[in-house]
């Protein structure tokens, strides 16, 4: 163990070796910067948002609201003027949904790799480029198994260096212990508007912090992914304004 008197010289030596911050001597590391999702109850549960420079997971089955949450995160970041990226091997990104969420589309880089392996390579390139606030890696409905074990440490290292939040969207946990935060989403009730014509309005989703290396896990809240809270309903945008 290094004596306290040797700390400045050790840190200076590491800085000379272009490795500043790689080894923390004695004192605690600098505070983790947060990336607000833009949903107040959820940000409160996450102590201000998802951590920058770390891997976070949004996990849940289909129709649990994980895509809606990821798009909200992208929208919030681009509205702050930040540049974001979405890696989408399943080609599931729906530009109209992005626009409805309020995303500045010019600040979003959409990458559609041909396979999950290529998606990992793309994620690493984007993290190494630096300057992106968020990189969303959407592993689709069924992530390939097994993902190579060396991938996650490399991605984590690149994310730390660039202070980019890497958000993995998957039906189940994939990053293992390399994920700093895992947010589990579980659909509770689909919301249907009754009347002369039934209309689908969205879901109510229970959101639980499954894993949190930067705070206490287990906190949960309920969010709603719904059409009625959008500025422009998804149906009006994509299917025209005609009534059924």
């Amino acid at each position: 163990m290094l004596a306290s008197t040797s700390q400045p010289s050790a840190v200076a030596r590491l800085a000379e070796l272009s490795l500043p911050g790689r080894v923390h001597v004695g004192a605690a590391s600098e505070a983790v910067r947060r990336l607000p999702i833009g949903v107040r109850p959820l940000d409160a549960v996450l102590n201000g948002g998802l951590p920058r420079g770390r891997i976070s997971e949004l996990i849940g089955p289909l129709s649990s609201g994980k895509t809606s949450l990821a798009l909200t995160l992208l929208a919030t970041a681009t509205r702050r003027g930040e540049v974001v990226a979405c890696i989408d091997p399943a080609e599931a990104l729906h530009p109209a949904s992005l626009a409805i969420a309020g995303t500045d589309l010019q600040r979003l880089l959409w990458v559609r790799p041909p396979s999950a392996t290529a998606a990992m390579r793309c994620a690493e390139l984007l993290l190494q480029a630096g300057g992106f606030a968020v990189v969303v890696l959407d592993l689709g409905v069924s992530p390939p198994r097994p993902l190579r074990g060396q991938v996650w440490p490399r991605l984590l290292h690149a994310a730390e260096q660039s202070h980019t939040a890497l958000i993995v969207v998957a039906p189940e946990r994939v990053a293992g212990s390399f994920a700093a935060v895992s947010l589990g989403l579980q659909r509770r009730t689909p919301l249907w508007r009754r009347g002369l014509w039934a209309l689908f309005d969205g879901f109510e989703t229970a959101t639980t912090v499954v894993r949190n290396k930067l705070g206490a896990p287990g906190k949960s809240t309920v969010i709603r992914a719904c059409e009625s809270c959008s500025w422009e309903p998804l149906h009006a945008r994509t299917l025209g304004s005609s009534n059924p």
């Binding site: 289909l62 309020g102 500045d104 039934a198 209309l199 719904c226 059409e227």
Partner: protein
């Protein structure tokens, strides 16, 4: 009026040495291949030292100096050198005349305020030409012909003060005015060998004896131009090229050649105050084919390393099909745009790194699979677009994305403006977020069992369930005037597995598809 003439002696040789600097110091000769038996057109100082002279055949020259390197110069190399010479001149003034064969004239009007003397200006001009890999003689005088004669006859920089053209050019030999063979012989017979002797003759007498050609020669000898300076149009792109003696098959040697070309290209662009935009690479292949490709430079840059990385990625992704025997690379010059960044807003990715990253991603995924998403200009529900990724700096906003092409969209459709809310999100405090659709591309065919025209059961690849709730139909139809017309009935259906899908029935074929999942 004051004019300067840039004159590069032995221009083909100079152009070749500029394109292939490793030949400097070797006994080198350039042949004129247009003649039936190629003869030496220009020779280097090393070759002269070994006793080689101009106009020998290759065999004769090789007999004198066995290690003589004999090369032909490709027209592209000559063109690039001439363009570089004009670029050096245009870094001073836009009024530059391209006279060809290593000669360029520039108008010095108005440059007096920038330089203390014409000698100083000529010195700086010579340095700029040298930066472009050429060595030019410079003459400054009151007319084109006087400036040309001063450049040809003088050693390096010759400045003729105004009104002293006759006196200064008197000892210049008449052959520099390039009279016709008959006229030259007549003057030789008369004992008139220098310009001073010719100018002393009365014009009327010369006209009576030598005709219009003689009068024209006397006028030129007096420094009178036959036509004024004609500025060349400013070039829209800059080009460099090289011919390779032996075909290159591997990437690394090709990149070595390209580095030299890019170096020279960037120097030319920088002299003109431009930065490098999109690159156009043209490869002449060994199978008599040609490989043309455009390399998009997302963030215009004058860093050779960055541009070379983009070229490497392009060549690695799509390697040429045969050995390469000639390379030409052209660049579009773009003006550097200053952008004021905000102290309190986040910085985006560094433009040059972003350009390389986008190129690398395009190499992995395909060029049409990387970009900014765009909402399609159509009512077709499954249409989407992709635009080049040029993130605007924080605080700036572009009016509408530049969209490359939409999948399934047609020109002439009405445009749906994306309505991005400009105020705080309504979902911010309530815990509600906008609903998103997860697209299924291409739409997955399913079998739907209906009862009273309502979907009751859905069965398909990896999907089966009873319909618990359904909403719809929303009838969507359009583009009926074309083959890609569509008419569909859309439904939102919650299946027994709990997921909510977007289904549609194609009214033309009565087939059902899933084109999205609400998630």
């Amino acid at each position: 009026m004051r004019l300067a003439c840039l004159y590069v002696p032995d221009f083909p040789l100079a152009a070749l040495l500029r394109a292939e600097p490793d030949l400097i110091g070797t006994p080198l000769a350039v042949v004129d291949e247009l003649r039936p038996r190629p003869r030496l057109k220009a020779i280097s100082a090393e070759a002269v030292r070994r006793g080689v002279t101009v106009d020998l055949t290759t065999a004769q020259a090789k007999a004198i100096a066995a290690d003589l390197v004999v090369r032909r110069v490709a027209p592209g190399v000559l063109r690039a050198a001439q363009a570089a010479l004009c670029d050096a001149a245009e870094s001073f003034t836009p009024r530059v005349e391209d006279a060809g064969d290593g000669i360029a004239y520039l108008d010095l009007e108005g440059l007096g305020a920038l330089f203390e003397s014409e000698s100083r200006l000529a010195n700086v001009l010579a340095q700029r030409v040298m930066r472009l890999g050429l060595e030019a003689r410079i003459g400054v005088a009151g007319s084109k012909v006087a400036a040309y004669l001063a450049a040809c006859h003088g050693g390096g920089i010759t400045v003729i003060p105004p009104g002293e053209e006759w006196h200064s050019l008197a000892p210049v030999p008449i052959r520099l005015l390039e009279p016709g063979p008959e006229l030259a012989a007549t003057l030789q017979r008369w004992g008139i060998r220098c310009i001073g002797d010719l100018v002393a003759l009365p014009t009327a007498a010369v006209g009576a004896r030598l005709g219009p050609e003689g009068v024209s020669l006397v006028r030129r000898a007096r420094g009178e131009d036959e036509r004024p300076l004609v500025p060349r149009p400013l070039p829209l792109q800059f080009e460099e090229g090289v011919e390779i003696e032996y075909g290159i098959e591997a990437l690394e040697p090709l990149l070595f050649v390209l580095r030299g070309l890019l170096d020279r290209l960037i120097t030319r662009l920088a002299l003109r105050g431009f930065i490098c935009g999109d690159l156009r690479l043209s490869l002449r292949l060994g199978n008599r084919g040609r490989d043309e490709r455009t390399i998009a430079v997302v963030a215009p840059s004058n860093e050779v390393k960055v541009l070379l990385a983009l070229v490497r990625l392009q060549l690695e992704t799509h390697p040429p099909i045969a050995a390469i025997e000639g390379v030409r690379i052209a660049a579009v010059g773009e003006r550097l745009r200053a952008a004021q960044l905000d102290l309190f807003r986040p910085n985006g990715p560094a433009p040059t790194r972003l350009a390389i990253t986008v190129a690398r991603l395009a190499a992995i995924c395909g060029a049409d699979r990387v970009g900014a998403p765009a909402v399609a200009d159509t009512y077709r529900p499954d249409a989407y677009g992709i635009a080049p990724f040029h993130p605007t700096p924080p605080g700036f906003e572009r009016k509408g994305p530049r969209v490359q092409g939409f999948k399934g969209s047609r020109a002439g459709d009405l445009f749906l403006e994306p309505s991005i809310p400009r105020t705080l999100e309504p979902w911010n405090s309530s815990g509600a977020i906008p609903l998103a659709l997860r697209a299924v591309r291409p739409p997955r065919a399913v079998e739907v069992f209906c009862e009273h025209d309502r979907p009751e059961f859905v069965r398909g690849d990896g999907l089966a369930g009873r319909v618990v709730h359904a909403a719809g139909p929303w009838r969507v139809h359009g583009e009926w005037w074309s083959e890609s017309g569509y008419a569909r009935d859309y439904y939102d259906a919650q299946l027994s597995d709990g997921c909510v899908y977007r289904l549609y029935c194609d009214l033309g074929t009565q087939n059902w598809f899933v084109d999205g999942v609400y998630d």
